[in-house]
């Protein structure tokens, strides 16, 4: 089975805690890049599918040269191959251009059976690249997958559980397909020292616009219909009132505060 996992490198959430109190902006210091948390589940699921059904896992990322580090993490976990799509021409891509670029990269890999994406990336928080990519590749899509029940390679079918607001939906569709995964699907493995060392030495091919073909005006800034016009940090939420007193008294005050403001009605 040919498995492709799309991963993105994102700034770590921990690093963004600091806010400059005077300028009201985020402080960059100590920003560390990590594999998008949902993509760790995607990588793990790819490797598990390989272990269960045989085949090969290729991880692919579009991003600046340092996104190579994210790909190395995936190789250390057990992915077989990695490809980086990187070119100055890709800068400023929104989800439409990102999905386009990834789709060309995946087409270049040849026939595939399944593409796995994370549910969303923790920086942009859009959850749009997976569905956009499925359209570009003309693949069936199953989003929010919490469990792959079965892949039948003979009938070329996948049966999966997906988490929607009101419960779990069990669906099945034909391969090739694209799925996006949520955290519940597995527990990502921690790579051992040996595989980390091996991954550090891995050669990762870098494909640019020339390698991918495609129309130059569909990439990067020009290929992105959306444009950010303003970024601002929301005013930090003000901590409110700490209700004092012994438990029964504090609880009574809390109920009074909530009912008098119509937050709860008893």
């Amino acid at each position: 089975m040919k498995i492709v996992v799309c991963i993105k490198q994102v700034p770590s959430t921990e690093a963004r805690v600091q806010m400059d109190p005077i300028k009201g902006t985020l402080i960059r210091e100590g920003v560390e890049s990590v594999v998008n948390p949902f993509d760790e589940y995607a990588i793990e699921e790819g490797i598990r599918l390989k272990e269960r059904y045989g085949g090969e896992v290729t991880v692919i990322s579009m991003g600046p040269p340092q996104a190579r580090e994210a790909l190395k993490t995936a190789l250390a976990m057990g992915a077989d191959k990695a490809v980086l799509l990187s070119d100055r021409a890709f800068a400023g891509s929104d989800t439409l251009a990102t999905a386009y670029t990834l789709s060309l990269g995946i087409k270049k890999l040849g026939d595939i059976d399944i593409v796995i994406c994370g549910k969303q990336a923790t920086d942009g928080d859009t959850a749009q690249v997976g569905p956009g990519l499925a359209q570009r590749l003309n693949l069936r899509q199953i989003t929010y997958v919490s469990k792959i029940r079965e892949i039948n390679l003979k009938n070329r079918k996948i049966t999966a559980e997906r988490l929607i607001e009101s419960g779990t939906q069990v669906v099945s569709t034909a391969l090739p397909a694209l799925i996006t995964v949520v955290k519940d699907i597995n527990q990502p493995r921690i790579p051992n020292i040996f595989s980390i060392k091996k991954a550090t030495r891995a050669e990762i091919p870098v494909w640019g616009m020339q390698d991918l073909g495609g129309d130059p005006k569909d990439f990067g800034f020009d290929g992105s219909p959306t444009q950010v016009v303003r970024i601002f940090t929301p005013p930090p939420r003000q901590g409110g009132e700490i209700i004092q007193g012994e438990v029964p008294e504090a609880v009574a005050k809390l109920i009074e505060a909530l009912t008098s403001r119509n937050i709860i009605n008893l």
């Binding site: 700034p11 963004r16 923790t122």
Partner: protein, 401 residues
Amino acid sequence: MALKVIKENCTGCGLCVDVCAYSGIKINDEGVAEVTESCILCGQCVDVCPAGALMMEEKKATVEDIFDYKGVMVFVEHEFGKIHSVSFELLGKGREIADNLGVSLSAMLIGAEGDSMALEVARYDVDTIYVCNSTWLKDYQTNTYVAEAENIIRTYKPEIVLIGATTMGRDFAGALAARLKTGLTADCTELSVDMEKRLLLQTRPAFGGNIMATIISPNRRPQMATVRPKVMAMPEPVKNPDVQIIQVQPVSGPQDMLLDILEFIPDTAGTVNLADADIIISGGRGMKGPENFSMLFELAELLGGAVGASRAAVDSGWMPYAHQVGQTGRTVRPKLYIACGISGAIQHLAGMQTSENIVAINKDPDAPIFKVATFGIVGDLFKVVPELIRQIKGKKQQTAC
């Protein structure tokens, strides 16, 4: 590159470098700012530059027929025959935007009981309802719904399309925008109009709510946005006597149902689901064990709310993942969020900090959750929660008599 450095103006102060979360800009050997390959063109550096040395190139003027597109259209989402409340919220907001632009408001309804649902939609102030009705459109499937929506949009050419940012809405919108090759802004919490340019200003949280971004789609149509449920006000039903219901012939057929929906397992933990709940009672590591969540369920039941959990509680196996709130769980925005034994780690806050009111119950006075709480009680939750239940029960009995 679309971000330009005007070298003559740059003083090399480095504010741009400080503000960038991506190492997208640096001060080079000549002592001036230089854009690096990591730049994502977010424009934050442009805003902080005191010397006017940074400039963002505008998107190129359009060559497309964008002026053929007129009007605001709302996608009507439904599940098990029930219209999702976010669709009505969007009709309210859509009306306001349409009035500002001086255009009409329409609704797009794809389904199997389209006619009866159209009557429900017609209770609100909408000008046109496009109904695409067929047996195979009964349940949402990406492929069939996207095909019908694409047809409706290409035929009736709305300039703006609004969709609820629900799980279904995001599955649908992401695919539809790619099919239409147009811009899509995710999970907006604010919409307004730039009257001069007649553009939709779409504001949304990113980075788990640590940053807000305003986004436009200047040169493609329609301008599409998914909008977070419960953010826009629910409109009053106002009947429009001139409402038109237009039947649209389906372009898909039963063979286009690419998914077999085999089974649905409703979430049985609690009676209200997290996404719909006005009140959420959440428990964290401080709950100590799964058995103690029963008191949160009791409180939720009393208040008509749902039960959530922090990642720590989910990873310990105390609550199913569907109830996890936070960066790798769900994002919620209830009227009231009660956090019991939750420290308030940044990843948890990312999923709940926009709640209207937050109550924190935690024994550690320094827990970060207190920094965002509207009301806090520093104390042992095993005493506070049962007391809360006891007093609420008492009050309810009083009012019942």
